[in-house]
Amino acid sequence: MAQAGKGRLNYRCPSCFLRDIDMDMFYDKEKNEYYCLRCQYTGSEADVLEKNQIARMRYRAMMKRFTTFD
């Protein structure tokens, strides 16, 4: 197989992101998947985007606009 590259965008590993690690993923064009050098995550672009939504689950007030800070 040829060497991996960075892919269309600079996607990070969603599994590592959940444990507060920013790991840029590499793209395997033969398998059409991103993979993490650190953990065992692999996935398509669609899967990465879906898992990124899971990473946002901890931000329950992400879209709330606060008007007071008491």
Partner: protein, 623 residues
């Protein structure tokens, strides 16, 4: 009237951080790539346009690399003329062909160089700046500026009066987030502007003699709750932080969190004599056409445009003053005095909890009170020690610029530990009939007030339920300006049995360090001072102090009526002690052991309804 001030700082970084690693992936390193230089300057120009379009002036911090670029120099001159932007000089952005050629190194963080190299680089960079502009800058900065570096710059270039000098809580957490490859260890500093002391940048000056001569500002204004636990680069007043943290709607690209963060900083004016502050400091690297993190260029652009529009809108409404760095330094010196503390009563604005923290910083300490743990102190830095802490190659701390802690609940457990031992925290236990409840488990809220020289936190009362007794207790925590101590009073407001009595055990579990890993405790000494006229029955004379030299032997001692309990921590030149006023007070000290390398100091006593129990935790420089 409250005043909210923003410093917006842009730097024409010709070889931006990340550029070679991220956008240049797959290419051989070439710092002189024309495409890279052109794009970097274009991004800088775009950032400037977005600020000016919204009526905001900036501080342009020229980088070493940009001083070799005529276009960048001319642009800075033009914007200074046209918009009143200040032209300053950053010590970030050193990497370029000329720097590599001259210094034969790939190091780029000014505080990590040897002192000799720091001086040579400063002379070089400031000299080059003078050549380009015909004057010396009034502002400078880096991610961190160590005291020796600041002292040297101030001595050689007295025009400098403001500097970006630390990144708040950027330490082991940032290192871990970056796959253990980002060596910015600078925990334990102020989150808001301060005057650094000559001995240690993180410790504010207490008087003119200690004054380094500059006003320091933090790199970005960071979320005082999210950054304490999480990656500092996800939660600050840099739009890229918000994108890096994925704190935006992936469909609409909206990110109200950034505005909540800015607004919560505005809110802090009420605790700080009407002054609130924000800092935005961005380089071009994050805004390149290739996108950054998961965000395409269009989102990167939108985030910065929206951010500038928000600040610009506040300005139009008369709610914001935009200043350059040197303007701010003058304003700060006119409106603040040395011992004036910085306070922040901060709530969660991201995770949907009701957590609330209080941060306090003055020349003698930085402390964090956690209302979700009953008002426990969960972070404590003894600035009173004004610890000399040289950093850089050739010193004891090449990369580690953090100010050491005595308490740090994230690195050293806090209340909750696994299986055995203790974690660092300052709290109290209430005991009755063989049952014991720690106030760390009593979630509450705090209200801030100013009473003379005291900044006071009054916590909502909490109820402690024993099997046969309910106790309503209130904590009041006071920081007296200039006193170097924290007074904590526990008042029993009511009991289900008005005749009952409970035992209170006020304690501090401490250690020292700058990281998660334990340090050698062998040089510490626990002590208790007896009260005056406490006669030792065996000797018939005044009782001697009780001492436990730390040997990991799990020893402990108690002394009825002790005048003081404490611990000497020589590695960080700190003496931490506790005194007490309360019924039946008995001091205690406890040595740790290998699996629990902590020390414990405190007092126990008894409380009835309507009674109070007060302790003072004091920090001093150890001789």
């Amino acid at each position: 009237m409250d005043r909210f001030i923003v410093n917006i700082i842009h730097r024409p970084e010709m070889v931006p951080e990340y550029a070679e690693k991220v956008t240049g992936q797959g290419k051989k390193e070439d710092l002189g790539r024309k495409a890279l230089l052109t794009e970097s300057l274009d991004i800088f120009r775009t950032q400037q346009e977005l600020a000016h379009k919204n009526g905001l002036k900036t501080t342009i911090q020229m980088t070493y690399a940009s001083l070799f670029n005529e276009e960048a120099v001319e642009l800075a001159k033009e914007h200074h003329q046209k918009y009143g932007d200040e032209i300053g000089l950053s010590l970030l952005g050193l990497p370029c062909e000329q720097f590599r050629e001259k210094y034969k190194t790939k190091d780029f963080c000014i505080w990590m160089f040897s002192l000799e190299d720091k001086k040579a680089i400063v002379q070089d960079v400031f000299g080059k700046f003078y050549e380009a502009f015909g004057f010396y800058p009034e502002s400078t900065g880096s991610y961190y500026m160590d005291a020796e570096l600041i002292n040297y710059i101030k001595e050689e270039y007295p025009s400098v009066k403001c500097a970006v000098a630390t990144c708040w809580e950027e330490g082991p957490k940032a290192y871990h987030t970056c796959n253990n490859s980002w060596y910015t260890f600078m925990d334990g500093g102020p989150w808001a502007p301060w005057i650094p002391s000559k001995v240690n940048t993180h410790a504010p000056a207490a008087c003119e003699e200690e004054d380094s001569g500059i006003v320091a500002i933090p790199h970005l204004s960071r979320d005082l709750l999210a950054c304490y636990d999480g990656n500092g680069s996800n939660f600050g007043t840099h739009p890229q932080n918000v994108l890096r943290g994925m704190i935006y709607d992936s469909v609409t690209w909206e990110f109200p969190y950034l505005y909540n963060l800015i607004d919560q900083y505005r809110w802090q004016a009420r605790f700080n004599n009407g002054i609130a502050y924000n800092m935005v400091f961005v380089g071009p690297g994050w805004m390149n056409k290739m996108g950054r993190w998961e965000a395409p260029y269009e989102l990167l652009y939108k985030s910065y445009a929206d951010c500038m529009e928000y600040y610009g809108g506040l300005k139009k409404e008369g709610k914001l003053s935009d200043m350059t760095m040197s303007e701010f330094a003058s304003y700060y010196r006119e409106h603040k005095h040395y011992t004036e503390p910085e306070c922040a009563l901060w709530r969660d604005i991201l995770y949907g909890s009701d957590k609330q923290l209080f941060w306090y910083c003055d020349p003698f300490m930085r402390a964090c009170v956690n209302m979700d743990q009953g008002g426990a102190i969960v972070d404590l830095r003894p600035y009173a020690a004004k610890l000399p802490w040289r950093v850089g190659i050739g010193t004891e701390h090449i990369q580690d610029a953090s100010y050491p802690f005595l308490i740090q609940e994230k690195y050293r457990a806090g209340y909750f530990t696994h299986y055995a031992g203790e974690g660092t925290v300052r709290s109290a236990k209430i005991c009755h009939g063989g049952e014991e409840v720690d106030l760390c488990l009593c979630r509450t809220k705090a209200h801030f007030s100013r009473e003379g020289d005291d900044r006071v936190l009054t916590l909502d009362p909490v109820e402690i339920e024993f099997s046969d007794l309910t106790v309503k207790i209130q904590s009041v925590i006071a920081f007296r300006e200039g006193s170097s101590d924290i007074r904590i009073t526990r008042n029993v407001l009511s009991m289900s049995d008005p005749e009952a009595e409970v035992t209170i055990r006020e304690y501090m579990v401490g250690c020292y360090g700058t990281t998660e890993y334990t340090e050698d405790m062998s040089s510490l000494t626990l002590f208790m001072e007896p009260q005056e006229n406490d006669v030792d029955p065996e000797r018939g004379t005044q009782r001697l102090p009780v001492l436990i030299p730390y040997e990991y032997r799990c020893r402990e001692a108690e002394l009825a009526g002790a005048a003081e309990t404490g611990c000497l921590v020589p590695p960080i030149k700190t003496r931490v002690s506790m005194t007490c006023e309360g019924r039946d007070k008995t001091g205690f000290i406890r040595e740790g052991y290998a699996f629990s390398p902590m020390f414990i100091i405190g007092y126990c006593g008894t409380l009835k309804e309507k009674e109070g129990f007060t302790t003072w935790l004091k920090l001093e420089k150890a001789d």
